[in-house]
Amino acid sequence: MIPMNRFSRRRMLRGMFGGAAVTVGLPFLDCFLNTNGTALADGQALPTNFGTWFWGLGLNPGRWEPAKPGKIEALNVELQPLAAYKDKMNVFSGMKAFLDGKPNGVHFSGVQGMLTGTVPRGMTADKPSVDTLIADVIGTRTRFRSIEVCCAGNPSHSQSRRSGAVVNPGEVSPAALYTRIFGPEFTDPNAATFTPDPAVIVRKSALSAVTEDRADFMKTLGAADKARLDEYFTSLRGLEQQLALQLEKPAPLAACTVPGKVDETPIGTEIEMVKANHKLFAGLLAHALACGQTNVVNVAFSDATSSLRRAGGTQTHHEYSHEEPVDAQLGYQPTLAWFFNEIMGSLAFFLAQLDGIKEGDKTLLDRTIVMTATDLGYAKLHGLENMPMLTFGSGNGKLKTGLHIAAQGEPTSRVGLTLQQVLGVPVSNWGTDSMQTSKTITEIVA
């Protein structure tokens, strides 16, 4: 685990020197910090996006974890296809799903733990997945609350669910997805009229009552405490300003372009086919995000019991996991490693689509957080230990990146909890039984 930097430098300054030394001289600011305090909010930040990217069968232990906790100096061999994103990603190792005596629904329990914080007792999930919880906060004002795609031909491969019974089925045809997003119903976000949210109007107005608390509360305070409270009220003005911005027409999505039409493509589990469809999906999803059609996307590259297979091959990725011997020289199952390389290559392609859309000096990936999910730790064992987890992008600076968090047998739900928190879901405790956690991964919170 990296030495925990529990406070950002900014908080440290404000906290440690308690207002008196540092903030006493601060005037009551008439300019406003943006929500992250990273810049002055003279313009509006573009919306923050969230995505999940799922594949089956985990990765080979020992071949994906960075060598050391803390700053990622270099990626391990199975993450090499992602090398371009070394500084824009986080790697979480040593996290697991806890069964608490519940049967291991192999290929099911692990991914449920990761995405819903709950390992179900049977083979039916009973909790919503993290993307829907986040979509309920960041995806309420877009045309689609979320968009799901399944690259291996089956809509039920989707891991996004509102509840146990309600799976958000994935689109399996890129051509159909094109029509759904960019067909006749597509509206140019920059041309659309804007209606302010009445709930925001009311909230903004209500906050003025808190501002009114200032005068009489301050009267009871000494000078040092007054400075501290000044900081509080500066923060309050920031919050009011944020709401004020929400009442204005949003910043134009300058990077929004409508992609070229996508034709029907063959659909199946053969890996080249899956990769080709994934490429089309990745491009469409990136454009959908850039055009504000949705703020949440979910990609299932394969099913959990990865039925990907090589062109002309008869065995699936999954069968190889059971049957291929560990190569004595190499120390791992070589065909499995081949599949993982293909999968990580596709993930890199997806990220390249997001990172390729430039928005000022930032990219679409920079205002997005992509979380990966998988069903297993070590495929050969079908185990739920040390399940690989990755995030990409900082979500408009909400997440620190370039870090390897090396946990020791802690629940995978910590990642889901932390991402919900940075994306504004009011949750301090998430999950069930031993998957329940209140431990934010503070190392990655900006």
Binding site: R6, G15, T35, A206, F217, T220
Partner: protein, 563 residues
């Protein structure tokens, strides 16, 4: 002056800062007491207050601003922190979430004492009733007329805007929950009619001081009622409330909160152990270890009404099966839960210092540390300050657990201490921590390191010992140990260090603790019934320019008078 005094005494009300301040400063320009402190509620306090006010069905979800530790306590840090921009955003989310649960269809009938005439419209009467009652619990004092009117207006406006009474009420409640009047607890000063020239907290500030100290939460209705009636301003009334609160089961929450703070258990958040070296040490062990120490302490101090010093030597504790495996002892607990356990005399574990929480927390991820453990005994348990190490020290030798020449921590530290700049400080830490060397960084017992038998001998302030039990006895007998907990408890309750003028009070508390056979609840009671605990200076700035408000109003409050 006598007129003023009489007015105050007879009215038995909270007098204004402004009025008293002007009068008394004019008459007596000497400093009149320690500065008031303004503390931000801790996460635990916030949660507890919400549970106390709305019941356990209301969940508090969100990420709180981190607390900071000053002078050995987070409670001290709480009077130094503010709310950052991102922190307020979080508080706002948490507040809206709590408020929406309170006004939800599932909860409104039980939590809102009235019904609107029309649920789609504003309702002044019902909003007023709910906001006045709830506001009193959240602000820990009654709302002024203006305050209430302002919140009712928010509720009404929002109800109109959203065409829903309950949504409007929720919005108004959420603004109370982000108000500094809820998030911070300030101390309102008033002239002390019994001590000319001195100030004391007003009765509501007293109630909060008492309640957060003893229960780690806001005053309950009985305590607020006592404040309102002026009972907290009489010795008998104060004593009655303190006795009630110390006797309540809720005192355990207060004692736990204090020791969680004093022992630095927040550091567990960041504790890491190398699972290759310490395969037994996992997340549940870390969690159980803290709980074990807290159970040891509360059992001894509250249930058994024992001597505080015995927390260092008691063999009575409680274990979970997982924790028992780290201790290497059998424990049958079919439900996987807690079972009382007493280490036999033959076991090297005695007291909280040899428990997993202490030895694991004060170690490195991959190796034990006599230095860190010795430092913790000095700083955490004896309240002694150890100087910070000089810059640019070469720790290579100490860290090299595979060094063929220096096989034990003792040998490595001895070699390291040949450097004179290091030796001085190590001398005051290492000989203490070496008594705990038989416990590895994961908290398990070991008899050797790199094949060399471990020597557990050491010395604390001239008292030599040969093992952990000997160290435990040395700490138990060290007069600094009870003195430390007294000064920590005082600082914890005050949110500040005791002032120089308060040395007499400190001495009295120390002596009283000894006379009470070091019974901790008695110490809390003694602190809570001290007039000094409520002594406070008037604010140096403020509404000193409003001599017009001379009349205290019986049902009013300080703010109202000030305006």
């Amino acid at each position: 002056m006598s007129h003023v005094k009489k007015t105050l005494a007879t009215a038995a009300v909270m007098l204004t800062v402004a009025y008293g301040g002007v009068a008394l400063l004019a008459e007596d320009s000497k400093p009149t007491g320690p500065d008031a402190v303004t503390r931000r509620l801790s996460q635990q306090q916030y949660r507890q207050v919400i549970t106390d006010v709305f019941g356990p069905t209301i969940k508090v979800g969100g990420r709180f601003e981190p607390d900071i530790r000053r002078d050995g306590l987070l409670a001290m840090g709480s009077s130094q922190v503010s709310v950052t921009a991102s922190g307020l955003e979080e508080y706002d989310k948490i507040a809206r979430n709590v408020a929406s649960q309170v006004v939800s269809e599932a909860n409104r009938d039980t939590l809102i004492p009235c019904k609107p005439a029309n649920a789609k419209q504003a309702d002044d009467a019902c909003a007023s009733q709910f906001l006045a009652e709830t506001g009193r619990m959240l602000y820990r004092r009654p709302l002024s007329k203006e305050e209430l009117a302002s919140r009712v207006k928010v509720a009404n406006d929002a109800a109109v805007g959203l065409k829903d009474f309950y949504s409007g009420l929720g919005i108004s409640l959420s603004t109370m929950l982000v108000s500094p009047k809820f998030l911070f607890r300030g101390e309102v000063a008033e002239a002390d009619p019994d001590h000319a020239g001195q100030y004391r907290m007003d009765a509501y500030s007293k109630a909060s001081q008492l309640s957060f100290f003893l229960w780690d939460s806001a005053p309950d209705p009985q305590l607020l009622a006592a404040a309102e009636k002026g009972e907290l301003n009489t010795d008998a009334g104060l004593k009655k409330q303190v006795d009630r609160m110390v006797a309540s089961p809720r005192i355990e929450g207060g004692v736990r909160a204090f020791f969680t703070d004093m022992l630095g258990f927040d550091e567990f958040e960041t504790l890491a152990k190398d699972s290759m070296i310490f395969p037994k040490f996992n997340t549940s062990v870390a969690k159980d270890a803290q709980e074990q120490t807290l159970r040891t302490i509360t059992n001894l101090l509250i249930t058994e009404k024992g001597d505080y010093r015995d927390i260092f030597t008691t063999r009575k504790t409680a274990l979970t099966p997982m924790l028992a495996s780290v201790y290497g002892v059998p424990l049958v607990a079919p439900d996987g839960g807690w079972k009382p356990y007493e280490f036999p005399e033959t076991d090297p574990r005695a007291g909280i210092i040899s428990q997993v929480a202490f030895v694991a927390l004060h170690s490195h991820p991959g190796r034990s540390s006599p230095t860190l453990r010795g430092k913790a005994v000095r700083e955490v348990l004896l309240c002694q300050k150890v100087p910070t190490p000089p810059a640019n020290v070469n720790f290579t030798l100490v860290q090299d657990t595979k060094n063929p020449q220096y096989k034990t921590a003792r040998a490595r530290l001895a070699a390291h201490a040949t450097d004179a700049t290091c030796a001085g400080c190590h001398k005051i830490m290492d000989p203490i921590g070496l008594g705990l060397e038989e416990f590895d960084s994961g908290g398990s017992l070991r008899s050797s390191e790199n094949g060399v038998e471990i020597d557990n001998s050491g010395v604390l302030d001239g008292v030599k010992f040969t093992d952990a039990a000997g160290l435990a006895k040395a700490v138990h007998d060290n007069p600094a140990a009870p003195a430390c907990v007294v000064s920590r408890a005082m600082a914890y309750g005050l949110g500040r260090l005791p002032a120089k003028t308060e040395t007499g009070w400190q001495t009295a508390m120390q002596d009283g603790f000894k006379q009470a056979n070091y019974r901790f609840p008695d110490l809390m009671r003694a602190i809570a019934t001290s007039p000094e605990f409520y002594r406070v200076a008037p604010p140096t700035m403020g509404a000193l320019d409003n001599p017009a408000s001379k009349l205290a109003q019986k049902t009013g409050n300080t703010q109202e008078i000030q305006q």
